[in-house]
Symmetry: C2
DNA sequence: GTCTATATTTAGATAGAC
DNA sequence: GTCTATCTAAATATAGAC
């Protein structure tokens, strides 16, 4: 069974892209407005799908949110995979920080896509908060591998420190609507990485 | 006009504590469940006030949320004021990190009270997100004063780094339900403060 | 298999009783 | 001044038409 670039196909092949459009619209709106404030009607409208029709593709709103999280997960995996072109682990870690800095305008507007999702869904204790945990684990595990490859025994702690530093800076940049705050913290993290043996 | 320990009095003095109970219940529930998932009926129930009666004290839900944020603000101010007993700025900063670490169980369960509020309300652009900004500014300004007193020219950046580090660690600790993660990052921040000249 | 009209629920808010 | 019964609106979800 082939998997298309648009993700899992709809129940049949008759509605090309509709399911994918719903997932994309949901991902965007959940990020911009938060999960609770986003209605299925809004998602349907942005995806250009008749309202109410959403339930043909997703049994519940949570199911749609879960699909949006899975899509974010693919985005993160793709971004991390793209960093592998750099030759040294230190260069790869710096490149990750670059990715953070480059997204500063968007982050100042709506926060970190993964971080704000975790913050909202962590209040619950269900499969959605679990999915968020997996999402957040990805960059930490990736960074941990890089630090380990540098020979650092404290790779797990360093990875947590790096991602925590970014997440905190993203929250503050969003709170103060200040992309420069994120850029400044990014620079700090770069210097910190450079200083590691 | 005297201000009681319970905060601003109700429109009259006839309903002693009811308004304060509503604010306290709202503060707790907004923290535990998030703003959007908390209903006025739940707040009323926890405050032991008849449902629907909330509107006698607060014209809208946003008004109640705003009062809860103001109450959080007082909590933060009180905590920061309590740190002034320490004699040196470095000791005061370390004491702040201690406060973070001591709250690790609660943070692992429901996140940082200020951070999760900011994360959710920053998606909006209204007086509530503004109030969150003020809330988050408090510890940063306080830390900045300590670093400045230590003679650091880069006090603003250091203050942002400290609070960002905590906020990020709080988010991860909540996401992974791991108080030890926060304790570990707290230790890191303590060592970082100690290493500053 | 695909989609729409409608039902159900529940939130926030208010008019008016006490 | 204080509180309650009720309204309105809007969200999620479903039965059933096409």
């Amino acid at each position: 069974m082939a998997k298309t670039a648009q993700g899992a196909a709809a129940p049949t092949d008759r509605a090309p892209g509709k399911r994918a459009r719903l997932v994309q619209a949901a991902k965007d709106l959940l990020y911009e407005q938060g999960v609770e404030r986003t209605t299925l009607a809004e998602v349907a409208a942005r995806a250009d799908v008749p309202p109410g029709n959403v339930y043909y593709y997703f049994k519940t709103k949570d199911d749609l949110v879960e699909a949006a999280i899975a899509s974010q997960r693919e985005d993160v995996e793709s971004t991390l995979a793209g960093l592998e072109t750099h030759r040294t682990p230190k260069a790869r870690l710096r490149a990750l920080v670059r990715v953070f800095i480059d997204a500063r305008e968007q982050v100042a507007r709506s926060g970190c896509p993964q971080g704000s999702l975790c913050s909202e869904l962590d209040k619950r204790a269900d499969r959605l908060s679990d999915a968020c945990g997996e999402l957040m684990r990805l960059p930490i595990s990736w960074a941990e591998r890089q630090f380990a490859e540098m020979g650092r025994r404290d790779a797990p702690e360093l990875a947590v420190a790096l991602i925590a530093g970014y997440q905190g800076a993203a929250l503050l940049a969003n709170t103060f609507r200040d992309p420069d705050l994120l850029a400044g913290e990014g620079k700090r993290l770069e210097r910190w990485i450079d200083g590691l043996s």
